[in-house]
């Protein structure tokens, strides 16, 4: 079991043939373009203070599509190229801090970038009727750009920069467009997250002080068997560093018990921001979790893995059961995210529980080792698929709650009833999202969960058994949602509900189509995940 970054270093070393011409230009500039185009869009809007609302909306949407466009371009280049191409924008390290500018697309980042590219236009379409659309779109594009930067950055300096930059647009989106106690939720969100990040920054400052580099690949060498960073830092030091990074990420994902900002923030945020927060921002945390903890600090991770398994199980079980008690549909969907992301944390924790046995002391015989490595592969692939698929289904569910709220002004579980009769198309699309979220086979949610259960079972069967409680809980609260809102006689606010408008269909139907596509043909997602080293 070599770590993710060792593989990267090897592939980088073997890729000697440098492509030339237009392809070279594109492979060098696409990663930077991912980050730059939404910023350009934001700048363009900044420079047009008198722009009409409609034009502001349209131009925001157009620029938000840049990510999907670049994903398509990346796919075309990767598919048509004979040799393995690397999409990387980088400069030599310079300056007093020895920072290099390095944005590189890997398979895992490509998947997350694609998710961002799908969700952002959808979220903007969901927020079509917000007041002050120019400012809203400026903030949203900045947030999109920052998130993309997090998924692409290859050293901690820029990674952290983008990480923090994503926070401020989110703060204003919640505060200025949110519900009546949005201000409190926004401050809570920002202070909580910055508080966590401070620990992470300290941890990385300590690493930098020891190793003198920010670069992930070099850090992997220093912290791996090649370097002597562990000796310099000492056992207590590495534990503290691990904890520091962990707290920063745990707040963002969030991992139990650092999750209490989430229901407030998700519930108070405007619907588009809720979609982006759960679909993309939570993934930033998980992405960091994999990059830093599972790949850079596998020793520490292996030591902490059993604790993390329990925290992940708390996410899964508590999330599902807390969701069951919510009477506010947005809070219910928010808690369901706590549950769904718990599976990813569980997978990442489990792949390191047996790390020592499978890497250093290979006492285990061949067949058992095969079983263990297959478990690891299943769990980590499953976690990436789950991250992508949760993005689709959770965003779609928020969208659906937004549809209800925008028409009736309320979003309580008991406020509706019989909606399926007055809005059959809405009911059908919402039903797809719901069954995708509860992991129905044939829709996208199932594949990731199945692979995670497969992987977790290979290592910790009891953890897989406990985690199934979450599957049951999810079914219970989502079907309660469905039954109370869509079935039965008409409720107090059902009269206000009309079926989806053309704009809403255009936003929701493609997502539902993707749910079916990736449910029936999950290999597509796996191929994207494995397309780039």
């Amino acid at each position: 079991m070599t770590s993710f970054f060792n593989i990267l270093a090897e592939t980088a070393a073997t890729a000697t043939v440098e492509p030339t011409g237009i392809v070279a230009f594109l492979t060098r500039s696409i990663p930077a373009a991912f980050v730059a185009l939404p910023i350009l869009g934001a700048l363009w809007l900044v420079l047009q203070p008198k722009i009409a609302d409609k034009a502001a909306r349209v131009s925001g949407l157009v620029f938000s599509f840049s990510t999907l466009f670049l994903c398509a371009l990346t796919g075309i280049i990767a598919a048509t190229s004979d040799t393995a191409v690397q999409f990387s924008t980088r400069s030599q390290s310079s300056g007093p801090l020895n920072v290099s500018f390095d944005l590189t697309l890997h398979g895992i980042s490509l998947l997350m970038v694609l998710l961002t590219g799908i969700i952002t236009p959808m979220a903007l379409a969901a927020s079509w009727k917000v007041a002050r659309p120019r400012l809203f779109n400026i903030l949203f594009l900045l947030m999109q750009s920052a998130a993309l930067g997090v998924f692409l950055a290859q050293n901690f300096f820029f990674w952290f920069l983008f990480w923090e930059l994503s926070l401020f647009p989110a703060f204003f989106l919640i505060k200025l467009w949110g519900g009546h106690s949005a201000s409190r939720a926004a401050y809570q969100f920002v202070i909580y997250t910055i508080g966590g990040s401070a620990f992470m920054l300290l941890a990385f400052a300590a690493i930098y002080a020891t190793t003198g580099t920010w670069d992930f690949t070099k850090l992997a060498w220093h912290l791996g068997s090649g370097g002597d960073a562990y000796g310099k830092i000492g056992a207590t030091g590495t534990t503290l560093i691990f904890l520091g990074i962990f707290i920063g990420l745990a707040v963002k994902i969030p991992i139990f018990p650092f999750h209490t900002w989430l229901p407030d923030a998700y519930a108070e945020a405007p619907i588009g921001a809720s979609m982006f927060l759960t679909a993309v921002m939570a993934k930033m945390g998980l992405y960091g979790f994999y990059i830093f903890l599972a790949s850079l600090l596998p020793h520490e991770m292996a030591k902490a893995a059993h604790w993390l398994v329990w925290l992940a199980l708390a996410n899964i079980v508590f999330g599902a059961y807390a969701a069951m008690r919510q009477r506010d549909l947005k809070r219910m969907v928010a808690y369901s995210s706590v549950n769904h992301l718990g599976y990813c944390v569980l997978a990442f924790a489990v792949i390191r529980t047996r790390w020592i046995e499978t890497t250093i002391f290979s006492h285990t015989d061949g067949e058992e080792l095969t079983a263990l490595t297959r478990g690891i592969s299943a769990a980590s692939d499953g976690a990436w698929l789950q991250m992508f698929n949760h993005g689709l289904s959770a965003a779609a569910l928020f969208f659906c709650v937004g549809v209800l709220e925008s028409r009736s002004g309320v979003r309580g579980l008991q406020d509706f009833g019989g909606v399926r009769k007055v809005a059959p198309l809405f009911a059908a699309l919402c039903g797809f999202s719901m069954f995708s979220s509860l992991g129905l086979p044939g829709l996208n949610g199932f594949v990731g969960e199945f692979l995670i259960f497969r992987g977790v079972f290979a290592h910790l069967p009891w953890a897989a058994a406990i985690a199934t409680l979450g599957l049951l809980g999810t079914a219970i609260f989502l079907l309660t949602f469905w039954q109370k809102v869509f079935h039965g006689p008409a409720g107090a606010h059902t009269g206000a509900i009309t079926d989806l408008s053309k704009r809403e269909i255009a936003a929701l139907a493609p997502i539902v189509a993707l749910m079916v596509l990736f449910g029936v043909w999950p290999q597509l997602l796996l191929d994207i995940l494995k397309s780039l080293p």
Partner: protein
């Protein structure tokens, strides 16, 4: 060219019909039902060809597998399987489904969501056929869950009725409890054998290659195969309405009657039995530990009650030793001692027997015609599980097939009655329908006799007989056999009660008086199913057990009339018991017919307490409401309260603390330090008080700061890039 490569067409055709049903507008709704009927007819024709091919090569499992997911480390395959087991099931499912679809065109004609109904029906049929043709436990699970979805949609078809919506949810959640076991079993199979294909040219998990991996003893004394079998059985318990998860099935009668016939009689509930029959080779693995085998350092004792005790002293063995005894290796990873607690098959047998009894007892006291049939289904499925458990999967499949025909007949007959009686389902409001609906009456009577096990002519008799034989020959215990005998009497009794109440005597309501026979689309399926309810039985009589032989891959089935008399004692006993049941039923309900709709049941007058308990289905729902639901709700409350009070409380405390620190800061600044620091103090106060909701902040200044920040970042990025001189290298020109 083998047909197995085209087996996917059989589930694909109804899936296509479902897609058509989903998109056609209401005004061209006939297209939806036409597509559904055509698809099912096509699937039936294909199934018949498949059966012909399967019978031409008995004992072989032809498969067609393909990788669905390739992670690089391993592949997950899906596949299709053609053997007699799947082929018989295919023919039955497609035939019964076609007739039920035909019936539905008349039954649902008035419904405003007519085309959606056929969409869901087709989706259901497609998923069900997916289970049947599957050669992969994963594909079975996928189809299994889709069957659950389709059943959810169909039970809740009249979703404006709160009872229907609640019943649909109850069915989905209850079966999902079992499905969790299925999922874990599936994952375990794949972990233990690295495959989840049933058959794959010797490499499937039901074949020789997997035996060594599945016959590992767990610390609890069970084989891995048995533990997996029990987990998969949990799924079957949910789907097939077995005790203790049977509670959803009677409520599911809220769905339209054709749905009850299709899903809750002939097909979906049979899926659990089919799965058990499919994985029977794995379940039977636990029988490989032959009584009396001596391992080094171990003792195996044959107990008087038929169970086997194993005492394995593994300390005497080198760790991880693989012992070889004959062709089977038994892997002893841990210290194992004590008595083998139970075998998976005995669990299946006892659950089946208990279910058969509970269903039959409760059916006696139901007044809703569909609920009587629902509990009768629960009971009959219990028989099938019992047969699997006692090692007679052939008998289980035989009963599954005969039951599918006669129970679909009974449900459709009930549907015909309900349709004629203006959607009245209460038997107390019926009466005297026999002369008014002659075809329905005659066919229903055939179904009733098949279900009760009236001897010789009716299919149910032969299949039930096969199960009783199997139970009688079970070496572990005779208790299930006796339970099954009691259920035989009860079945005959409650069916006689139903007949007497519905078809005999005088009409007890306005609706019953004006009932008349339905159109041919309703009666034709009844007649065809009635014919099957008689004829299918002759495929598996003791004289010529052709069906069971084909299922076991046995090619030669000589006709031997004398075999009927081999078990003549048992045969006589069951004939006698049926006679007792029908006789008692007629004595109580037939001789003095119910006079008015409101009169109490004769048994109710006699045994009021028992009757009330049975009427309330032995209080299972109440019991679950008081225990499982309460526990679940308590866990939810705990999660919620823990979240908002404990975790959030800690967070709030930390916030208050920092606010307090901010306040101190401010105080110290303002009073302790000189005025030059005042600006700093203001900032600190802002930071400290930032959390409080009163501090709304000036959005504009924040925004300005934010814009500034972005500009700075952009400049930094550009500076880093430009300083390096690499930008020029990007330009290819």
């Amino acid at each position: 060219m083998s047909l197995v490569q085209f087996l996917w067409l059989i589930p694909a055709l109804p899936l296509l019909a479902a897609a058509i049903g989903a998109i056609v507008p209401h005004r061209s709704r006939k297209i939806a039902s036409g597509a559904a009927l055509a698809a099912m007819a096509g699937a039936f024709v294909l199934s018949v060809f498949a059966l012909r091919e399967a019978l031409a090569a008995p004992g072989t499992h032809s498969t067609f597998n393909f990788a669905w997911l390739n992670t690089g480390e391993f592949k997950l395959h899906l596949g299709f399987l053609l053997d007699p087991l799947s082929a018989f099931m295919l023919v039955m499912v497609t035939f019964v489904s076609f007739l039920i679809f035909l019936f539905s065109t008349a039954y649902m004609r008035e419904d405003e969501n007519y085309e959606k109904f056929f969409c869901y029906l087709s989706l259901f049929a497609s998923a069900m056929l997916g289970i049947v043709v599957s050669n992969s436990l994963l594909l079975t699970f996928i189809s299994w869950e889709l069957v659950g979805l389709a059943s959810y949609l169909l039970i809740g078809f009249w979703f404006h009725k709160p009872e229907a919506a609640a019943a649909a949810k109850k069915a989905f959640i209850t079966t999902r409890i079992g499905d969790i076991g299925f999922l874990l079993g599936l994952v375990w199979v794949h972990h233990a054998t690295q495959t989840q294909l049933f058959y794959n040219g010797g490499a499937g998990f039901l074949e020789i290659a997997a035996i060594g991996k599945l016959s590992v003893l767990l610390p609890c004394g069970l084989f891995v195969s048995s533990a997996i079998g029990l987990l998969l059985f949990a799924g079957a318990v949910g789907k097939s309405g077995q005790f203790p998860l049977h509670v959803w099935l009677p409520d599911a009668m809220e769905g339209p009657t054709p749905v009850s016939a299709l899903i809750h009689a002939a097909t979906m509930v049979a899926a659990g039995v089919f799965l058990m029959a499919r994985i029977y080779p794995m379940l039977a693995l636990e029988g490989i530990l032959p009584p009396g085998t001596i391992f080094p350092g171990s003792e195996i004792i044959q107990n008087p009650n038929g169970t086997t005790s194993i005492t394995l002293i593994t300390n005497a063995l080198p760790k991880n030793e693989i012992l070889t005894d004959g062709p089977i290796s038994i892997f002893l990873p841990h210290h194992v001692s004590g008595v083998l607690p139970f075998t998976a098959l005995s669990v299946v047998a006892f659950i089946g027997a208990i279910t058969a009894l509970i269903g039959a007892v409760v059916a006696v006291a139901q007044n809703d015609i569909k609920r009587v049939l629902a509990f009768s289904t629960v009971s009959q499925l219990g028989y099938m599980m019992l047969a699997i458990g006692v090692g007679a999967p052939g008998a289980a499949m035989f009963h599954l097939l005969t039951h599918a025909f006669f129970k679909a007949l009974l449900f459709l007959g009930a549907g015909s009655v309900i349709h004629a009686a203006h959607h009245e389902q209460d038997m107390r409001q019926m009466g005297g329908l026999g002369p008014r609906m002659k075809i329905t009456f005659a066919t229903f009577a055939i179904g009733m006799m098949a279900l009760s096990g009236v001897p010789f002519l009716f299919s149910g008799f032969w299949s039930k007989e096969a199960i009783l034989h199997g139970a009688h020959g079970w070496h572990v215990s005779h208790l299930p056999f006796y339970i099954a005998l009691v259920a035989v009497v009860l079945t005959a009794f409650y069916m006689t009660r139903l007949m007497a109440n519905v078809f005999f005597g005088g009409a007890r309501s306005h609706a019953a008086e004006h009932a008349h026979e339905n159109t041919w689309t309703i009666t034709l399926p009844l007649v065809l199913l009635a014919a099957c309810a008689v004829l299918v039985g002759f495929l598996g009589t003791p004289a010529w057990p052709w069906l069971q032989a084909q299922l076991q891959g046995d090619t030669t089935t000589p006709f031997a009339f004398g075999k009927i008399f081999e078990g003549v004692g048992l045969l006589g006993l069951s004939v006698f018991l049926v006679a007792v049941g029908i006789g008692a039923g007629w004595a109580v309900y037939g001789v003095r017919k119910r006079g008015t709709a409101t009169a109490p049941d004769p048994l109710e007058k006699r045994f009021p307490t028992v009757w009330r308990a049975l009427e309330h289905r032995l209080y299972f729902d109440e019991f679950y409401a008081a225990t499982v639901f309460k526990l679940n709700a308590a866990l939810a409350v705990f999660a919620d309260v823990f979240d908002s009070c404990v975790v959030d409380g800690v967070v709030r405390f930390v916030c208050k603390l920092s606010e307090f620190l901010g306040f101190i800061n401010k105080d110290v600044d303002e009073h302790g330090l000189n005025a030059g620091f005042n600006a700093t103090a203001e900032k600190l106060r802002g930071a400290g008080g930032a959390y409080s909701a009163s501090q709304t902040g000036d959005a504009r200044s924040y925004l300005r700061a934010l814009a500034l920040g972005f500009v700075v970042v952009t400049i930094v990025v550009l500076a880093v890039v430009l300083a390096d001189g690499t930008l020029s290298r990007w330009l290819p020109f």
